[in-house]
Amino acid sequence: MRSICLYLHMHQPVRYREYSVFDVSNNSNYFECDFNDRQSNERIFKKVAEKSYRPTLHLLEKNLQKHPTFKVSLSITGTWLEQAEKWAPDLIEQIKYLVSLGRVEILGETYYHSLAFFYNIDEFSEQVDLHARKIKELFGTQPKVFRNTELAYNDSLAKWAEEKGYEGIVAEGWDKILGWRSPNYVYRPAGCKNIRLLLKNYRLSDDIAFRFSNRGWEEWPLTVPKYQNWINMDCLRGNLVNLFMDFETFGEHQWADTGIFNFFDEFINSWLSANENQFVTVSEACKLMAPADEISMPETVTWADTERDLSAWLSNSMQNAAMQELYAMRDEILNTDDEGLISDWRHLTTSDHPYSMCTKYWNDGDVHAYFSAYASPYESFMYFMNVLRDLSYRVSEHKK
């Protein structure tokens, strides 16, 4: 059997507004602004819901109903769920329905889409638990496979996940790690026994996620027969193709008018029309075969940029200063037992925040600049640090 493990990631950060130093100690609303402001979470969520979440969920639902063997895995962050509850509750109802069909699996991750693993392991664990509780509450399931924010993975994360009892964990199938090996097998993380490692087939995933509508790409336009042929060829090196991508690939990164929805619809049909083909969820994928080999990633590998590292999040001095000051406040914040304060602080751990302070590509004004909610990385840092000041002020008020 040839299997496709399709896994889609759903996330929206809660963006802080242009929080001025003159707001500090006067106004502790960090996350709400006018609907038309650049950082309006409501506007952005509703826009993406319209362009991507709704039509894509509809496409998945249609195919789950049509094909009893179609399966999909989703990772949904807590910050996405919170916002959907407020501004698009129909989406949650629809996901509930999909999960009830029994062929949709939800992965575990941090509630706040944070990089806490690299700063504070207690905070990390707690955010993972918070997420698991939220998933249980809404969908009644228990995550069995873990994904870390931005697929940031290393050997010690795998060990942590094994101790927590996860059956599997996902990571980038990066050539530098794999060498001659193929991502189309199940692997065992170095130093682990039971847990399995699934590696993203980044070429075939990115053909859809990044290149699909690129007219400069020599393979454009991508047709279903062509793509299926590539997958068939790739299956000569292992029968499990892990297609991991952002949920927003459909409708937001690749707009509807590029034909992405039709392409994907047709592809599911075409793939399942051959008897030897199937879809599997992430936990099913872990059990498909015995591990082909042990894989070690002592250094952190992510699914981002050509470097596949955390440099877009944590490399310049602003990003480091912001994260260090943020995590240094943790004990004081938790000691207040003030739920609102703790929640505000945790919302700042979302990885999108340091990402918006990235200056790596800033001068070229490319992707990073284009998708930012702030006028510049420097402004993003400024507002973030002003929020931290107000948090400190609130902590000091508690001590009185």
Binding site: S20, V21, F22, N316, S317, M318, N320, A321, T359, W362, N363, G365, A375, S376, Y378, E379, F381, M382, M385, N386
Partner: protein
């Protein structure tokens, strides 16, 4: 090329830009005769012929008044055939006469006129001699008057010149927009060519001596942050907003020093405003400075602010970047279109400027990154690129004429 000033007889960025552009153009093989409205030696400029249109001393090139002052302008525009060199109009008249005489014996391929001062001479060349005319806009009257009405006569000359020109070069997108919106010139007729930093400025040797300004060093050692701005004290530069913003910032962080380098009609008003705002102790007025002392100010500063209400380009920001200052630029400045490693704000947004100053003052990581990154960036555009773009425009228009 028709210009109004060249270093060392310049008062601002116009002369510097003209000189660098002309030098780079000659390197591309262009032969340039450059007309100036005065007689003086330009000992360092041997790559082109400099033609004196009048026998005036350079000091009188703007007539009796100062170029920067709108008020003086209005008072000083008598009839154009006035024989005494009292007004700039008289200088312009003589400049035109000279150009006319010159063109009777010389036939250049193209005429490149810099700013409204030379547009009449440019139009003459086009109308009487059929030469293609390139109008180069370093600033419009709207910029000089802080986006208010400005001088109607100057508007008229600008409008005519821009209408008649075969091609217009603007120093930034925002200048292009102003030309389009205010003078209704089609966007397709306007090319944007950004300026670069003065080559001599960069090449000349300079090192900052820490012992020169002991008081400021003392303050810096005690945790003060130095914020500076450089320019003519006119309404265009938005300095009143700058001071009000400084007062807001000082409320949150008294360890801020603001240096205002320059002079102009707003000086007394600014001094009393600083006192009214209660920040006189935090503000230093240096008077008009140039050369080494100006560089010292850049070197002393942690932050350089360009507060202009309207700034077609903004060369001083590149100079400050060269001396590794963190930059804060108004969105209304042309330089903010090409420099990304900087804070920006709308000139009226006093709170945002205060926010930005305070953020840089309190976060060393932010300051270091801004300073480091802008240093990598300010070289994006070279005079060679400027010349190549100009040449392309010349070639198109020259051919057009001859066919």
């Amino acid at each position: 090329m028709l210009g109004w000033e060249l270093p060392p007889h310049n008062s601002g960025g116009l002369g510097i830009a003209c000189l660098n552009m002309a030098r780079a153009l000659t390197k591309e093989g262009v032969d340039i005769d450059f007309v100036v409205p005065y007689t003086a030696a330009h000992t360092k400029t041997s790559f082109m012929k400099i033609l004196p249109a009048t026998s005036l001393d350079p000091i009188y090139r703007y007539g009796g008044g100062a170029y920067e002052s709108l008020n003086v302008f209005e008072k000083n525009i008598p009839s154009a055939d006035h024989k005494m060199h009292f007004s700039i109009r008289d200088v312009q008249k003589e400049y035109c006469d000279y150009v006319e005489k010159y063109l009777k014996t010389n036939s250049p391929d193209i005429v490149h006129a810099h700013d409204w001062l030379t547009y009449e001479a440019g139009m003459l060349a086009k109308k009487e001699f059929g030469l293609p005319l390139i109008a180069h806009v370093h600033a419009t009257e709207f910029d000089r008057s802080g986006m208010r009405t400005g001088n109607p006569l100057i508007h008229e000359i600008e409008y005519e010149g821009l209408m008649l020109a075969d091609r217009i070069i603007a120093v930034s997108e925002s200048t292009k927009r102003i030309i389009h919106e205010k003078y209704k010139i089609p966007l397709s007729k306007i090319d944007v060519i950004y300026n670069s930093l003065d080559e001599e400025y960069e090449a000349s040797k300079y090192s900052f001596d820490n012992n020169t300004y002991k008081y400021i060093n003392f303050l810096k050692e005690n945790g003060y942050t130095v914020v500076s701005t450089v320019g003519r004290f006119t309404i265009q530069k938005g300095l009143r907003y700058f001071l009000e913003s400084a007062a807001l910032a000082v409320q949150k962080n008294p360890k801020l020093i603001f240096i205002l380098a320059g002079d102009g009609e707003e000086r007394d008003g600014l001094i009393s405003l600083a006192a009214e705002l209660g920040i006189a102790k935090n503000v230093i007025f240096t008077g008009f400075i140039r050369g080494r002392r100006l560089r010292d100010i850049y070197s002393l500063s942690d932050i350089f602010v360009m507060s202009s209400i309207s700034e077609p380009f903004g060369l001083t920001a590149l100079e400050a970047a060269h001396h590794q200052d963190a930059l804060i630029l108004t969105k209304q400045s042309g330089v903010s279109e090409i420099i990304w490693s900087a804070f920006t704000y709308d000139f009226w947004d006093k709170k945002k400027l205060a926010d930005e100053i305070l953020a840089i003052a309190s976060h060393p990581a932010l300051k270091a990154l801004l300073q480091e990154n802008v240093k990598k960036e300010y070289h994006k555009i070279s005079w060679e690129q400027v010349a190549k773009k100009c040449l392309k425009i010349y070639n198109k228009n020259v051919k057009h004429k001859r066919n």
